[in-house]
């Protein structure tokens, strides 16, 4: 592969630092995401994962922080863009899924209204076009594509349904990049598995690249092509998902793997995890 092809393959190139009130949170954090790739970003709570998500969207100022460095999406320099230009990128080229599904949806607005707001942010069209787009987006995330569902309020949804609505909103304009900030941390294990499968399908069907931020190394390893391990505001290791488990290079990565839960009655659980990951990687290959 030539260097030009490689450059063309890179969707997002990041090298950013961020701080809150002069306290450094991200320290020249550098990595790249290829088109259609799922990159898992793993680290413990407070290491700056969510800060990174907001920094990519240039929304960190809303939380009282500021970021600097370089951010290139599909060859566009996001850092030099005006706020108006960034609004054209947010939601259209970069989608965001937040951690808490129910608090991320406006409690006093119907699901249809919230999705329509996201649609109208980047499209002009009549009511019917909007309605069709919304129903299609619901079908994309395995929600019932029905008018009745659009008329519901967030309080009338289960947590899993609410998370799917958020994903539907994030992929409404078929963005190039989807940032998922701990999207399964509030879900039970079965719903978690369904949502993970949904992300994998969206990546395959739409070709959307996903930056999957989580503290759960195990769950992300089931869908990620590569995993970046983050520690104290820096990427300490970024490799293929399989290699992270079979040949961890950094001490912090080894600590993360060692801390994975193990079923007491079945001490070989970790070996099973390893086998599952290997077979999954083989399946993707």
């Amino acid at each position: 592969m030539t260097s030009e092809q490689l450059m063309h393959e890179v969707l997002l190139s990041i090298s950013v630092s961020a701080e809150y009130a002069k306290k450094s949170v991200l320290r020249k954090l550098t990595f790249q995401i290829k088109r259609g790739e799922i990159l898992g970003l793993v680290g413990q709570s407070g290491c700056g994962k969510s800060t990174l998500a907001l920094a990519v969207l240039r929304l960190l100022h809303l939380k009282g922080g500021k970021s600097f460095g370089t951010l290139q999406l599909n060859g566009l320099d996001l850092m030099s863009m005006s706020e108006r230009q960034m609004r054209g990128i947010r939601g259209k080229e970069i989608g965001l899924v937040l951690q808490s599904p129910l608090s991320s949806l406006n409690p006093v607005l119907r699901i249809g209204t919230q999705l329509a707001e996201a649609w109208h942010a980047h499209r002009r069209g009549n009511r019917q076009e909007c309605r069709n787009a919304l129903l299609e987006s619901l079908a994309n995330v395995s929600l019932p594509p029905e008018e009745e569902f659009l008329r519901r309020y967030p309080a009338q949804l289960s947590v899993g349904q609410a998370q799917r609505v958020l994903i539907a909103m994030a992929v409404l304009h078929r963005p190039m990049l989807l940032i998922a900030d701990e999207p399964t941390s509030a879900l039970d294990v079965i719903t978690q598995a369904e949502v993970l499968g949904l992300f994998r399908n969206l990546s395959r069907q739409m070709g959307v690249a996903i930056l999957y931020i989580t503290h759960d190394l195990l769950s992300v390893s089931t869908i990620a092509d590569r995993i970046a391990v983050m520690h104290q505001g820096e990427i300490v290791e970024c490799r293929e998902a399989r290699a992270i488990f079979t040949d961890p290079q950094h001490a912090y990565t080894r600590d993360l793997i060692a801390a994975l839960p193990c079923v007491p009655a079945f001490p070989a659980t970790k070996e099973l995890y390893s086998t599952a990951i290997k077979s999954h990687a083989a399946g993707r290959g």
């Binding site: 939601g91 608090s103 006093v108 996201a118 942010a121 909103m169």
Partner: protein, 268 residues
């Protein structure tokens, strides 16, 4: 508690309807004088007697209720809209705009409320027609009564601005003005409704205070404030207990407004 709320609401509805139908229900107009019967005691013709000018007290009470009970909500609505604009926008924009708006709000709140009303009313023309005096009185209440509500609305607006759903709307590319109108403002509705509702009895009492001081609605148009002026005549109070009826009605109405609003949750 639901029964009490229902009863309070029913009382307000009946009273409001009666005042609206004053033209049909009142035995005479509010200004009609029965000169041969000044200060008459209650009778079958004059249920609450007549005042010292011979006007039927019951008729004046019905018309006065119309003025107070229907215009206080209009004043409350005006002050709530002002509170939504000042507090809502300040809380949403934050920064120096919020600091300045809240500084002005604090200044308003620190002023003695009754003194401010009396001073403001005294500055405005006193020799005006009764209907103009109604507009001045309730307009002034609406314009001066926004500060307390603005503080509450500002806090709600700030909370909505910093919420996850507002963050997600921004991340979806929604423009700031649309974000305020379509996402933040609907979340202020419960606080705005509560502020509107609790302002009504406050404004009714404020109008009554101005009326007692002779700064409210001008004669001969009655309001609860002007009807309460009769209580200035201490010597007659013992022998004419029926002059207390406007006061009792005022207390009942203010209490009912407080009872109707749920105490544990805000209406959506």
């Amino acid at each position: 508690m639901k029964v009490v709320r229902a009863m309070a609401l029913a009382f307000l509805l009946v009273l409001g309807s009666a005042s609206l139908l004053a033209n049909l229900l009142a035995p005479s107009t509010y200004a009609e004088q029965f000169r041969e019967l000044p200060n008459a005691p209650p009778s079958s013709k004059h249920w609450l007697g007549t005042d010292d000018l011979g006007r039927d007290r019951f008729s004046r009470l019905l018309y006065g209720t119309r003025v107070s009970l229907l215009l206080a909500p209009v004043a409350a609505l005006s002050s709530t809209i002002l509170a939504a604009l000042i507090g809502g926008v300040a809380g949403y924009l934050g920064g120096r705009i919020e600091t300045t708006a809240m500084w002005i709000t604090d200044l308003f709140l620190s002023l003695p409320w009754l003194f401010l009303l009396v001073a403001a009313r005294a500055l405005l023309p006193l020799n005006v027609s009764p209907h103009v005096s109604v507009i001045i009185t309730f307009g002034m209440l609406g314009i001066l009564g926004w500060a307390g509500a603005a503080r509450v609305v500002c806090a709600s607006s700030r909370s909505a601005r910093d919420s996850d759903f507002a963050l997600l709307a921004r991340a979806s590319g929604v423009k700031p003005a649309r974000l305020f109108l379509r996402h933040v403002l609907p979340n202020l509705t419960p606080a705005l409704f509560a502020q509107f509702w609790i302002s009504i009895p406050v404004f009714i009492l404020a109008e009554a205070n101005l009326g007692v001081l002779g700064l409210g609605v001008a004669e001969p148009l009655p309001s609860w404030g002007s009807l309460l002026r009769e209580l200035e005549n201490y010597s007659a109070m013992g022998s004419q207990p029926w002059v207390f009826v406007p006061l009792l009605l005022l207390v009942a109405v203010v209490t009912c407004f407080q009872l109707v609003l749920p105490k544990t949750e805000l209406p959506a």
